[in-house]
Amino acid sequence: MIPLSWYLAVAAILFVIGFYGVLSRRNAIAILMGIELMLNAVNLNLVAFWRYTQPDQVAGQVFAIIVITVAAAEAAVGLALFIALYRLRGTVHIDEIDLLRG
């Protein structure tokens, strides 16, 4: 049997990789990809806790399903904004979005 801590370690590392992606990228889509990795890590956590502590309840899995739904909704709106903005400005680097500084 695989120990729970293995899953948690993988989830923690996945979360941190996503975290680094968000902080270090300039491109909006690349940042969004980092966020998706973080959400995956959270889901892995939730499902692993569910399996090892209360597999006869559904809370952990329901939570994971809702997180997936939210991630899909956010990705849809985020990419729509990205496309609209790209059409308008031709740039998608988040730190070139400098109309709003000062």
């Binding site: 959400l39 502590t53 997180v67 939210v70 956010e74 400005r89 979005i97 500084r101």
Partner: protein, 473 residues
């Protein structure tokens, strides 16, 4: 499950029906201005449902959402803000030729998320409600499609918001791991000071910090507030804060109250940083919207003082302040909307020059809002700050109250500077305003409440205290 079981979330169901009605009516109606009134009727009905529920004994919906005096207070705040938000947007949407149906429907959907934030007693409800209103606000922030800065604000808001949600979720997962519970009651029972639990709570604080724009999680605020369409900025600057603090207080003071010693120092530090940085940064702004963005950061700092006090008076003061802040900040933004030139999406301080000469009533309203935001008696803002700082002193956090008083003295400089521009300076080009009767109505309502709450603060404080007694037992 019977219909009776759904009563605790009746106001939300009314709001949902209204949102759908707005969308449906939109397709059949020629004169889109009616949509605002449809929305407003829905908000009033939801208000009536809230009042009716407040007379019933407290109830909860399957451990997911509670309907008690605390929820009722925040439902009231958010419904009033939503009503004013609908009114403030009406003339603006007309002038800009934007989609009225979608705007009003999204605003109502956001309101559902916000009221359920206040009602949530389960991490899952809390999270979905948070995401629901955040998502609606991301879309609304990008509503002015031909102005690039609006879309940029929306994208930035979405990325930072989703990032903070991920941190928040990881916090929930760790708390779930430490306690095995997702309901607030279950978490309160199993709460301990284990490193796992504390790490989870720390991540929850970071998540809330982003949502209420506390320093150092505030970097998105000025850009988003400046770029978003002004009616949206007005709405989110007050409604997001009310909703996020509602959940913040219920979760921390209510559920984690026993472990107070663990999180009070963190919140006190956040409060200091937020007040100081917010006020200092606001000093050097030329854009009115940016200035109000930093000022809203500073106000989040004042509210955090009450939260750090973590006693009955402190948290009641938080509720009272959020109510007061809603009116004074919405009012200030209403004036900004009135002054805004088509397609610019912003107003500079120099554009305010000589407003008193051309539009004395508008100038007087702005003066009342600025005095109230500064905290000058007898306006409502004074009592808000008074209660917050009093509570901090009671909780042996006198130093926090002192920093609060000093930083609000600093804030007087930039608030009063606006008045100097309005009353003393000569106009460069005399501001010409389009006649916007509905916007005027919204401004008038805000003025009445800022003055009214200032004259009779006790009534509203008792209401807030009633809400807090539910939380603290």
């Amino acid at each position: 499950m019977t219909l009776q079981d759904f009563m605790p979330i009746l106001p939300e169901m009314v709001l949902l029906a209204t949102a759908v009605a707005v969308l449906m009516v939109d397709t059949f109606l020629g004169d889109k201005r009616w949509l605002t009134w449809v929305g407003l009727v829905g908000v009033l009905l939801a208000g009536a449902a809230t009042y009716w529920l407040a007379l019933q004994p407290p109830a909860d919906f399957q451990d997911m959402a509670a309907s008690d005096a605390y929820t009722a207070f925040f439902r009231l705040v958010i419904l009033v803000v939503t009503g004013l938000g609908l009114l403030m947007a009406m003339n603006w949407l007309e002038a800009h030729g934007e989609q009225q149906g979608e705007y009003n429907a999204l605003l109502l959907l956001a309101a559902i998320g916000m009221t359920l934030m206040a009602a949530a007693t389960h991490m899952l409800t809390l999270f979905v409600a948070l995401e629901l209103f955040s998502l609606c606000l991301y879309i609304l922030a990008g509503f002015e499609r031909e102005r690039a800065s609006s879309g940029e604000a929306a994208l930035k808001y979405l990325l930072l918001g989703a990032f903070s949600s991920a941190l928040f979720l990881y916090g929930i997962a760790l708390v779930y791991a430490a306690t095995g519970a997702l309901t607030f009651a279950g978490i309160a029972q199993k709460a301990s000071l284990s490193p796992l639990f504390l790490a989870g709570v720390g991540l929850l604080i970071v998540g809330f910090g982003f949502k209420v724009a506390a320093v150092p999680f505030h970097m998105w605020t000025p850009d988003v507030y400046q770029g978003a369409p002004t009616p949206v900025t007005a709405y989110m600057s007050v409604a997001t804060k009310a909703a996020a603090f509602a959940a913040f207080v219920r979760l921390f003071v209510g559920t984690l109250g026993v472990e107070k010693s663990a999180w009070v120092p963190a919140l006190a530090a956040l409060a200091v940083l937020t007040m100081v940085v917010g006020n200092l940064a606001a000093l050097s702004q030329h854009s009115l919207k940016r200035m109000l963005a930093y000022s809203s950061i500073a106000h989040a700092g004042y509210v955090l003082v009450g939260l750090a006090a973590a006693n009955t008076t402190g948290t009641a003061a938080v509720l009272f302040y959020l109510l007061v802040y809603a009116f004074m900040n919405l009012g200030a933004f209403a004036v900004v909307i009135a002054l805004e030139r088509q397609g610019e999406g912003d107003v500079t301080l120099s554009q305010m020059r000589g407003l008193a000469r051309t539009h004395p009533l508008l100038a007087a309203a702005m003066a009342i809002f600025m005095f109230s935001l500064t905290g000058v008696p007898p306006f409502a803002g004074f009592f808000g700050k008074l209660y917050l700082f009093q509570a901090a002193v009671q909780a042996n956090l006198t130093w926090l109250a002192v920093i609060g008083v000093i930083s609000s003295a600093v804030s007087a400089y930039y608030y009063l500077n606006v008045l100097v521009q309005i009353y003393m300076a000569d106009p460069e080009t005399p501001p010409t305003l389009a006649w916007r009767p509905v916007l005027g109505l919204a401004t008038l309502v805000a003025v009445v409440f800022v003055v009214g709450i200032g004259l009779f603060p006790d009534f509203w404080l008792q209401l807030a205290l009633g809400g807090m007694r539910v939380i603290l037992g």
